[in-house]
Every structure is written in C-alpha cells, then in structure tokens.
Symmetry: C3
Subunit: 276 residues, 3 copies
C-alpha cells in the first residue's frame, strides 16, 4: 500500500471515531424509497439524521445541521423545489453537502435538476458510473457517452475515471463513483476502495445510504476527500463483513446495519483495501 | 393436476429463469408504505426497479421500462396525476402495466381514480377480494356488494370469482385476486394457486410487492395469464419456504427476500400448487 | 408496586387482548421515513393500519377508522393540509387521535403546524422530552426552554414532567413523553414506565411506531390514560425482549416485530415496570 493510501486508511479510522463521538446532525433530502435505510444507516453509524425537506424550514435546519444530503431519486416538481431550497440554505450556512444525482442521464427532468444543483456547489458528488458519466457530459466537461439503465449502473467505475476527474476539477468538489471498486477523486488524485460484496447491488438504496454516510463524514472534517474515502471504506468493510456465503439480500440488509453499528476502527483499518 | 395446471407450473419455472436472465426494468408508481419492499422484492427476484412517478419523465421512463406498475395506495392529487401520466405513457409505448387498486371501494376518490386508470387498459389487475369486487361493481360489470375494511380484505378470493371474471372480460385483461388461495382469470379460465402462509397477511405491502412482481413477469412474456400465475406461484412458494413455525413477521420478511433471491425453478415447480 | 400501578399493568394486559380481538382500523398520517415500520408494527400488534392522508377521503376514512394518528415528520405544505383535514375529520366523527409533534421546536413551520393541530383536540400527545417541552412552551403553558437537537431528544423525560402536566391540563389530553423512562400524565397523575432498551434509540421511527400503537389502543378503550400506558408498556417490554446482548439495530428491528407479534398478556404483565 502506498503511503497516501496508508494515510487515508488511518484517517478513515480516525474519522469513524470522531463521527461517533460528535454524533453530527445530517439533514437528508432523500428519495422515498431510501428514507428508511438512509436514516437507519446514519443511526447505526452514530450520526443523527434529520429528514427534513420543506423549503419553509430549510434555513432553520441548515443552521442546526452539520452536513446535508441532496438525493434526486423519486423526483417530482415539489422535490426539485426542496432540493434547491435545501442546497441553497446549506450554502448560505456554509454547511457541506453531497449531491446524489440518482438516475441523471435517464431523463431531461433529472438532467436539468442536476445542472441546477451543481451550480449550488456541492462539496461532494456520489453516484454510480453511469450517473457520473452523464453528469460530466451534461456539464460539458466530458464527451464520453453513458448508457443509463433505469437507475442501475450500466458501467464500471473505471469507465467513469476521466469524466469523474473532469467533473471534480470543473466544480472544485470530490467525486465518489461507486461500483465493484469505488473511485474517489478531487480532479488530481484518484484513490480506489476495493471493498464491498456483490449482494450489495441487490439491496435497494445502498447507494443512497452511502451518500448519507458521505454527508455524515463531510460534517466532521474539513477534508472532503478523506470524508469520501472514509464513507466508502466504512460501507465496503461493513458490507464485506455482513455478506455471508450463500446469504440473501434480506439477511444482508439486517447484518449490514449491525456491522455499521459495531464496526471498530481497528477492523476498518485492518480490512480497508485502498490503492492509488 | 390437470394438464393446463401442469403446463402453467412449467411455464412459471421457465418465466422465472427468463426473468433472471433478462433483468427487466420495471417502472413502479407505488405507494409510500410499500416502496422499500417493492424495490427490494424486485431486486431479489432479479428485476431492476425504477421508482419514477413524475409526469415530466413518464415518456422517457416508459420508453426504457419493460413493464410498469401503477399502485393506488397513499393516494393524493399529485399521485393521481402521476398514475394517469405513467399509465398513459405505458400505453403509448406499448409496455404492459398492472393496476393495483389499493383501497378501492373505501372512498369515492379511489373509485374515481380506479375508473380513470381502467380506461387506460391495464394488462393485469392485482387486488384482494374486496378490491376486485368493488372494482367490478363500480365498473358496472357486477352487482355484488363488497364491504371494504380499510385496505385489508374482508372477503375470500372465492367470493370474488364471478366479479373478477366479469372484470377480466369487460377490460380484456387478467385479474389476479389474492387471498388464502389466489385466483387468476382471463374471464374464461380460472386457475387457483394455493401456496403462501398466514403470516404474509401480517406484513405490510406484501400485496404491493406481488403487484411489482406481476409487472416484472408481464415484462418478459406476451402471455399475461401465465405472467400472473408465475408471479403468484413465486410469491406463494417463497412465502411458504420463508415462514418458519412459530416465526414472526419481522423474521418472515427477511427470509422472504432471501427465498425470492435463491428460489430455483426446480423448487418452484416442485412446490407450486395449482388447480383449475 | 402501588395499587394504581398494579391496576394499570393489569389493564395493559387486558387492552392487549382486546386489541388483538377487535383488530381496530388505525388511520395513519405518518411521515415518509416511518411508514414501513408504523404499518408493520401495527400489523404485528394485531391492528389494521390504513395509511391514508388525502383530504379528499378524510371523512370516509375517519368514518371507518377506530383510531387516528397524526405525525408531523417530513413536513410539507401538502402534509400540513393532510394533517389538518384528517384531525378535523377525526373530530367530526368522534374518533380519538394522537398527535406526534415530530421536531416541534426546531422550526417555526413545525411550531405553527403543531399549534393548529392542538386546537383540534388530540386525545393524546406522544413525543420525546424536547418536543413536549417545546410544545408546552409554544402553547404558553410553560416557560421552560428546550434545546432541540434535530429531531432527536436532547432532554430526559423527567425534565419534561412539569411541561407535560401543564400541557395535559391545558388541552384536557394525555401526554406520553418517551425516553429512558416513559412518563404518562393527564395533568394530575403521572406514571412512569421503565421498560425498553438503549438500542431502540438507534432505530429510526421507533417513536413514530409507538405513536401508531397509541392510536391503536385509543381505538379500543374510553380511557386514554390506560391506552397510553398500555402502548408504552407493550413497546418497552417487546423492546427489552428483542434486544439481545451485543445485538445491533438491524437484528433488533426484526426481533422487535416478532416480539410485538408473539407478546402474551402474561409476559406483558410480568415484565412491565410501572411506578407512580
């Protein structure tokens, strides 16, 4: 392991300990499919989810929250209004927020919504390879075409490496592209996290829950690159430990919350597989 | 077992194998209580759920989806608009869709919504006996009264046999009425599927998840009758295998997703109890 | 145990038996994070949830429901309209309803919504200490300040004892304040229920599910004080039995639904820890 990778593994362990100590409030505008898992994953991790989406209270929640999550799933006109209000409030209150551009590339509506949110400057973007490629393309920073497949990824994160880097540079943010190997980039550096288990792709809202975790880690550090790596490593290691041989997605989801809850910094540091 | 029943058992096995091979995209407008279970059941089954409801993207999702689900639970004005837009788009793109008329008969609002959706020609209808009887009655195809009890069934599917047949003939669709024994009819034939377990009635959204599975099977065959039988048999057999003696509804739901995931065509064919 | 406490333990057992016998219909306007758990907990308990929020059908559902739940989480303009319509319909149809003022005190929007709902006269209020203190303060019945922390409680129920009593007297309702020890008051009497387990605070929507249970118990008795005590005792005892040493929140939630389902009146009576 390179010295950069070794440092990031150690910082992930330290950030996990800090997160549990501080119990950051993470405001989540997340889609209706994922609300239960996102809130439970944040609780299990040691954060305090606040599932508020109303524009009427965006400022008051942003003032109190330590990190914010804007997830574009189950989009609607009302939801667009909520996402924009909450992201704008996060900006005014200088709270870091993560954009999860669910299904971007699949429809014009999602593309316009994502473009509007990008202009509000997320600290991080978390998406699958298809979403990251689509987002880079519609932002004009990459010409590579992405074939969306509903909201599931049709591409490997490696295919999104250059678009992700271009996106990170253009918007001065961190891009976390998830898949078999997760990639985190700030536009210059790229780190891969090779944890996780195949069954994770058969449980709904796992990506949304990871975006929630990114919001929690952003809340406790000024280093968004380290926050994205930590969130990816924590989810990947907990996922590996939760996946039993021959186990199904029902059992996995239960185990996963248990493993998020009892993951020690030692286990995290011992199992995280990072590579430059 | 009659030769028709035997053929349907074999076709159910073949359809399950096809579904896993093709991984159809199933667009779901489903109620907010059921979103988590519907999406997870579709993932476990091997399909790819797309939980999009926005009229703004109905055409783009319908173009990409292979099957569509319109579920009337947690109804609202916005939801009516979504259901109508998505069902209409499914029609324009010639994608088969299933109507789940949750709670129809309980209120005028649901009755009007169901009537409007029926005119858009679902390939299949999936409801409990009370809902099917209410739907037949409000469509003017049956005079039998149904006493709704909230959204839970107050009747046995057998009581809905004639209304279900009348409904299927009037709208040239398949009607799947669920209960202790599920009944599938095209208005002429009626097949009963006698699988399942009592605990399934104590887990929320199991009917909605079955409607999701109907959408997945409709997506991969031109025979909607066989699709409804396969969905019912798969759910019933997985339910039987998931129900442990003395087990509660929490454990059941976890096991059920595991059994949907690892159900083999041999197990399905060996356990399905069909009768004309 | 005092004779009052002993009587309440016995009445809790009797109410649990009655609930399972009558299977009351409980209409729930509850937040989107909690819908799955609220509905599943009601099913497990033996009630019949009806998750309808539409103002268009508020009167028809209120006519049929036996108890009603109004939960302010994931608030929005539409949700305010739903809550007011459903609470008003419950009043017209003389059905008891419980208010769960999620996050009140955190924002002006929630304060105004809660104040409007209080005027519609809930039979019971269920909240954490921070919410009960905030509600008492904004109602002008108590001057004690509460520091909200997102939607999680920042206070012990004991700190809310006087505000809860003042609130109960001012609105002639029962107030159930939950925490390490739950407190039930009608403004004169106060009973503490000391069951439960720490892991319950790490599972989302457990408080919302308890509010659902309050709605179910209100539905089957004219004694709302006994209903609140029974709901708290049932949740606390089921929670204790569900919490395994070293177990995580994923396993807990599964076990909890199983224990709600198979909890006997004897176990309830034997384990409930009540004190005046």
């Amino acid at each position: 392991m390179s010295s950069q990778a070794g440092n990031l593994v150690r910082s992930s362990g330290a950030l996990l300990a800090t997160l549990r100590d501080r119990r950051p409030i993470v405001q989540c505008v997340t889609n209706f499919v994922s609300m239960d898992l996102v809130a439970n994953a944040l609780h299990a991790l040691g954060a305090s989810p606040a599932m508020s989406s109303a524009p009427e209270e965006a400022d008051e929640f942003a003032a109190r929250a330590h990190g914010v999550v804007c997830n574009m799933g189950t989009l609607s006109r009302d939801r667009v209004e909520s996402l924009q209000a909450v992201a704008a409030a996060a900006g005014r209150h200088r709270k870091p927020w993560v954009l999860d551009p669910v299904g971007v590339g699949a429809t014009r509506f999602r593309g316009e919504t994502a473009a509007g949110l990008l202009r509000l400057r997320p600290a991080a973007i978390r998406g699958n390879a298809s979403e990251v490629m689509a987002l880079a393309r519609l932002s004009g920073v990459s010409a590579e075409a992405a074939e969306p497949r509903g909201v599931d990824a049709a591409h490997d994160p490696e295919a999104a490496r250059n678009p992700a880097m271009a996106l990170a540079r253009a918007y001065a943010c961190i891009v976390l592209t998830t898949g078999t190997v997760d990639l985190v980039t700030d536009g210059t550096r790229v780190v891969g996290i090779a944890n996780g288990a195949p069954v994770m792709a058969r449980v709904t809202a796992m990506g949304c829950a990871l975006s929630g975790a990114v919001g929690a880690f952003l809340a406790i550090t000024n280093d968004p690159f380290a926050a994205c790596v930590a969130a990816s490593a924590v989810f990947g290691v907990a996922g590996e430990l939760a996946a039993s041989p021959g186990g199904g997605p029902g059992t996995f989801r239960v185990n996963f919350l248990d493993r998020l809850f009892d993951l020690t910094t030692q286990t995290l540091v011992g199992h995280a597989k990072l590579a430059d």
